[in-house]
Symmetry: C2
Subunit: 348 residues, 2 copies
């Protein structure tokens, strides 16, 4: 049985209608709403074929049809027409990005918010990985009589702070001295490159402050460990409640639960890191409790091998073409900003 032009038109009509209304689509609806120049009976026959081929299915006998995952797949791969970004959307994206954002984590947080507002779905973003492992600046700042502040900046301008409590705090100058020395020795290092040799050198150079060194090293380790973890930003989880497919509170709850398992999400995003754009439709998704959902991921690059991923999660009935266009627009904007950020690094 061939997938002729008319079948495709009908499939498209079903999908468009279902995306819009969330109700099974019947032959009469199509005949009336889309002027295909054929009667509902003919459409019925074609629908029967489409069902046999697996592109659509009936929730129960004698109801209208809804697209199957396979139907969506065809739609996404071949039928869907790419939407251009609307003007207001374009402007909105710009407005998010053009704000004075100089730290990556803020940027990510704002981006996630913007995407969930624009799409009405849930957004998950992983921060660019690979950037955060090397220390760009490592300094000490006096805080008060009981504590010193450790500031570490990694490539890509992740700024991390850690308050170090210590019994006796040296004078301001000495603190800066220690910081200066640390910076000289550790600049450009990744955490795992701090070996016994390096520690020995530090001990030697900072002999005068040898009691202070252990807590500082400990703080550096904690800080860098937390920096090395993949950071996620999520927004718009509550949008899920608006969709009729999650009207059953149990379904909503189990999806929420899945969205709280950071590991699951990280793997989800990591797996799609090699594609610029990836669409996982319903059962294609490996996560059990997300099989009613589709996940569209886009990867943004930040020079070299550093990349992060943006994922949009919605019902399989999501507006693929809108999400994809918004996502593409956003990736371009992000990459622009990140380029500016890392240009600073380059000249160091």
């Amino acid at each position: 049985m061939a997938l002729n032009d008319r079948k495709i038109q009908i499939l498209q009509a079903i999908i468009n209608n279902y995306i819009e209304t969330a109700e099974p689509v019947g032959s009469r609806t199509i005949a009336k709403k889309y002027n295909l120049g054929i009667s509902s009976a003919t459409i019925r026959n074609e629908m029967s074929d489409l069902e046999e081929m697996g592109f659509i299915l009936q929730p129960h006998a004698s109801s209208g049809r809804i697209p199957s995952d396979m139907g969506y797949r065809l739609y996404v791969d071949h039928l869907m027409q790419k939407k251009e970004l609307g003007e207001e959307e374009q402007r909105y994206l710009q407005s998010i990005i053009s704000r004075d954002i100089s730290q990556i984590d803020f940027l990510m947080e704002e981006t996630a918010k913007a995407l969930s507002v624009l799409t009405n779905y849930t957004t998950i973003i992983s921060e660019p990985k690979g950037q955060r492992t090397r220390m760009k600046q490592i300094r000490l700042i006096p805080l008060d009589s009981a504590s010193v502040l450790l500031v570490i900046a990694t490539e890509g301008n992740f700024i991390k702070n850690h308050v170090i409590k210590m019994g006796c705090v040296p004078t301001e100058e000495k603190i800066f001295d220690i910081g200066f020395c640390l910076n000289r020795l550790l600049q450009g290092c990744a955490l795992r490159e701090i070996d016994t040799l390096l520690v020995a050198r530090m001990q030697e150079e900072l002999w005068e402050y040898r009691e202070l060194l252990p807590p500082i090293l400990k703080a550096i380790e904690t800080t860098m460990r937390s920096a090395e973890k993949v950071q996620l930003h999520m927004s718009g989880t509550k949008n899920i409640l608006a969709f009729p497919e999650f009207a059953d509170i149990q379904k909503a709850k189990s999806l929420f639960q899945a969205l709280e398992e950071k590991d699951v999400l990280v793997t989800l995003l990591e797996e799609s890191k090699n594609n610029d754009l990836q669409v996982l439709i319903g059962s294609e998704n490996t996560v059990q409790s997300m099989q009613d959902c589709s996940v569209i991921t886009a990867t943004y690059k930040m020079g070299d091998n550093t990349r992060g991923t943006i994922g949009i999660v919605g019902p399989t009935r999501m507006d693929y073409s809108q999400v994809i266009s918004v996502l593409n627009g956003m990736v371009q904007n992000i990459e622009k900003v990140l380029k500016n950020l890392s240009d600073g690094d380059k000249n160091t």
Copy 2:
């Protein structure tokens, strides 16, 4: 009609049972479950009185009774027996606090999480206000060829970072010099105390770097403005879905919406700042979409006039005595930690 001892016992039985089961309570249930030594008929008569007095009500004729807001009020004010904190709870609280938490925002975040786990309700915490207005340390750190990092620590160890992009970055020493000078001039200042006089002095002392000063001042302003905003930490919103009173997705949605309006929450918490412990039951709450909820707030102090508020939001049928005991325990713990934090300040 007098609220005699027996009526109170019955009311208490109704409330306890309803808190536990979320089902209207009938006279027979009480007769069987609580050995009050009277028959269900007597209980029925008493219940009729209690209803007349307004402490309980019937969802519909010929159903059991549920407590009214007024009933809960009586319960909270006079009947409820204060629970002691269970051992595991005590230990759990300790374990949260005893971790190495040296920045207030982390502490608040962890506290919120812990409370929502312990109580199964939603937790909102406002960071202590008043602390964040004075700068304790203000420093500059070189980042790369295009940017400098501004680090501001305010009282109470709120650390704020701001990356300042500048066309031409001076040498490391000069950056530290500027930072040193800024710190000398601005230490102890609040944002609003930076007047033209002070700016003039800065311009004078940093004449050599006069082009750099404006972006730095701008950054200080942005940073301090964001520090002055009341920061909220929320956790456990999803717990709401587990309660039968929010089985209707519409109700859940409207509550979620209310919880997203930061202003509303801030006023809610601010209003109860003068009481150590405050319970707002259902309609006592001024927020429209939270009239099915009770909010228990506790205020924690941090020396002087600085205080923040913790709020627990749940259905009116919430376990008041448990929440109150957990909240009390938590406040004690937090105050201990905050005291340690600010002890550093004192000796500065």
